[in-house]
């Protein structure tokens, strides 16, 4: 397959392209927030301009505190993306480490880890995160912890499965016979193989984490005010749903678009990375 064909195949994954572009836009928005946002999301508050409708100056209107909703939505990208990213780093780290341990060593270790994974799988993530947030109290850092600790069972399972099949593979056997250490084999030989599926899980997990942040905010256990988190903005505007709709529409749309983009991107990644799909592509009619 030459370069040209590769690019063509990538482009054929429309969801990957569409999702990816939106994710890129949102990431750029987060990075350049101070350049894009005309006001400070927290300190530029003035009660005298409380709840103004969208106009030329405040294109998304102002909130009850008299802050620019547009600036808050722009800065909110930082919060939401950080929730997505950090929780997934924690999740992936836990999941992959445990998965590697379980798959590589097997036996008692495997039984213990899989037992724990089963327990984790049986506790719904929202409920688990809710309980952790209740004991830690609301706040962004606590949110990272709560969402980071609760959603690693999928990456653990997938890693373990990949390790089990890789163990039988020739290159790992070869590495063994060459006298490579366990750590080196794990990270050098097996890790690259599980990168794809884990990347998919991470992308979809980030989307889920952003939604969970909104749900926890609704229940009063999200990021603390005045943090401009989309979930928090949406949740605190729920009583003004009809009287000041701009307060909920814009953060709501921001969550929607971001989660949508991440999901599309994740789906697209899966279609590309899943080896079984390649088999299918061979069998399908050429387009």
């Amino acid at each position: 397959m030459n370069m040209h064909q590769r690019i063509l195949r990538l482009l054929r994954q429309k969801n990957l392209v569409i999702g990816g572009s939106f994710v890129a836009i949102i990431v750029l928005m987060a990075i350049f927030a101070p350049l894009i946002a005309p006001f400070d999301p927290v300190s530029d508050a003035d009660l005298m301009r409380s709840e103004m409708r969208p106009d030329g100056t405040f294109i998304f209107g102002t909130d009850t505190h008299g802050r620019d909703v547009f600036s808050r939505v722009v800065y909110g990208a930082r919060i939401s993306l950080s929730v997505g990213l950090i929780t997934q780093i924690i999740n992936t780290f836990i999941g992959v480490s445990l998965g590697l341990l379980a798959g590589y060593w097997g036996g008692k270790t495997d039984d213990m880890i899989m037992g724990l994974t089963n327990i984790m799988l049986s506790i719904p993530v929202v409920v688990f995160a809710l309980a952790i947030m209740a004991s830690l109290g609301p706040g962004l850092i606590n949110l990272y912890i709560a969402l980071g600790l609760t959603n690693w069972s999928y990456s653990c399972r997938i890693t373990r499965a990949q390790v089990l099949s890789a163990k039988k593979a020739d290159y790992v056997k070869a590495a063994h016979s060459l006298g490579y250490g366990h750590i080196r084999i794990m990270f050098g030989q097996i890790m690259p193989n599980i990168l794809g599926p884990v990347l998919v899980i991470t992308t979809l997990g980030a989307a889920e984490a952003i939604l969970l942040e909104a749900a926890l905010s609704f229940l009063g256990l999200g990021a603390q005010p005045p943090t401009p988190s989309w979930g928090g903005m949406l949740s605190s505007a729920r009583n003004q749903f009809f009287t000041a709709p701009w307060l909920s529409i814009f953060p709501g749309l921001a969550i929607f678009v971001t989660v949508l983009a991440l999901n599309l991107f994740g789906d697209g990644l899966r279609d590309i990375l899943d080896p079984r799909n390649k088999a299918k592509n061979v069998g399908s009619k050429p387009k």
Binding site: I119, S122, I255, F256, L264
Partner: protein, 309 residues
């Protein structure tokens, strides 16, 4: 077959014990206490607080309380509610029916809407129709539920005035529609994506390709082979989804004042009625575990060739 069921049942017990340990530690680390909360606003007599603390054994170490809890649980006693002062089992089981009803209705919506969408997108994989359906279904998962709930309430209860806004309403079907829809939409979308993946996988399998080669019409292939083989996967996934569904009720039930375990869980966590919160969590998780156990066994019955590790 009997050995398999027995083995699954034996696996069940450590999982349940592990779950109770995690729940207990987690909820007993929650700061604050029901003694305060039961006294209402921050207007209380320190003596009353001390008395309540003592009456609920809050002065004993966590480990002692856990061992006592487990011992009582083994005898079917979930303890007493700190705020209601009667048995937790009575409080939580009284709420289970409503949650199961809501979760089942939502799952039904998810299956009815999600599976056909998944099938169509799989068969039309890579076309604009597939993308369109993907966007629609992903959109379904991407809406914060409480937002969707209030929106639906506004449209159907206020604008069209055809459905009651909230509450259980004596169990009327009309009261079930909005919460079930709010909860079901996301899962329909999720199920559509899972179905799509499953069908694509089956389509790529050897026997389907063989069937194609034999010249059976495309439709016959779709219906006979694909459906039967995707069914198993969808069944197990639905069982897994059911747990997550039970979890999501915490948000939907609160929006719609639905008298289920989910809203009770949130309330009791906020009120620091730890025994009730434990009971709710345990119940939600047990339902999930039992559903999965049953599905695993069913799976085995349907498809005995599958090798379980």
């Amino acid at each position: 077959m009997h050995r398999f069921i027995l083995k699954r049942l034996l696996q069940f017990i450590p999982t349940v014990i592990g779950v109770t340990l995690i729940i207990f530690l987690l909820l007993n680390l929650v700061p604050g206490n029901a003694a305060l909360s039961s006294a209402g606003r921050l207007e209380l007599d320190p003596e009353v607080v001390a008395q309540l603390r003592k009456d609920f054994e809050l002065d004993k170490p966590v480990i002692v309380r856990y061992v006592n809890y487990l011992g009582r649980l083994a005898q079917g006693d979930m303890g007493k509610s700190m705020l209601r002062r009667y048995d937790v089992s009575e409080v939580v089981f009284g709420r289970l029916g409503a949650t199961l009803k809501l979760a089942c209705a939502a799952l039904a919506i998810a299956l009815i809407v999600g599976i056909p969408i998944g099938f169509i997108s799989a068969l039309k994989q890579g076309t604009w129709l597939d993308i369109g359906l993907a966007v629609v279904s992903v959109a379904g998962v991407s809406i914060p539920q409480f937002w969707l709930g209030i929106l639906l309430m506004y449209v159907f209860s206020y604008m069209f005035n055809i459905l009651p806004t909230s509450g259980y309403g004596g169990g009327a079907f009309s009261n079930l529609i909005l919460p079930a829809l709010t909860l079901g939409v996301g899962y329909a979308a999720l199920l559509a994506r899972i179905t799509r993946a499953a069908v694509i996988e089956v389509l790529a399998a050897d026997y389907v390709r063989t069937a194609r080669a034999k010249g059976l019409s495309a439709l016959a292939i779709n219906l006979r082979h694909v459906m039967r083989n995707s069914f198993v996967l969808i069944l197990t996934t639905s069982a897994l989804l059911f747990g997550s569904l039970m979890g999501q009720t915490v948000v939907v039930e609160r929006v719609f004042s639905w008298p289920g375990v989910g809203s009770l869980l949130v309330e009791s966590i906020f009120q620091r009625d730890i025994p009730v919160a434990q009971g709710c969590l345990l119940l939600i998780i047990m339902v999930f575990l039992i559903v999965n156990l049953v599905v695993d066994i069913l799976y085995r019955v349907i498809n005995p060739r599958i090798d379980f590790k």
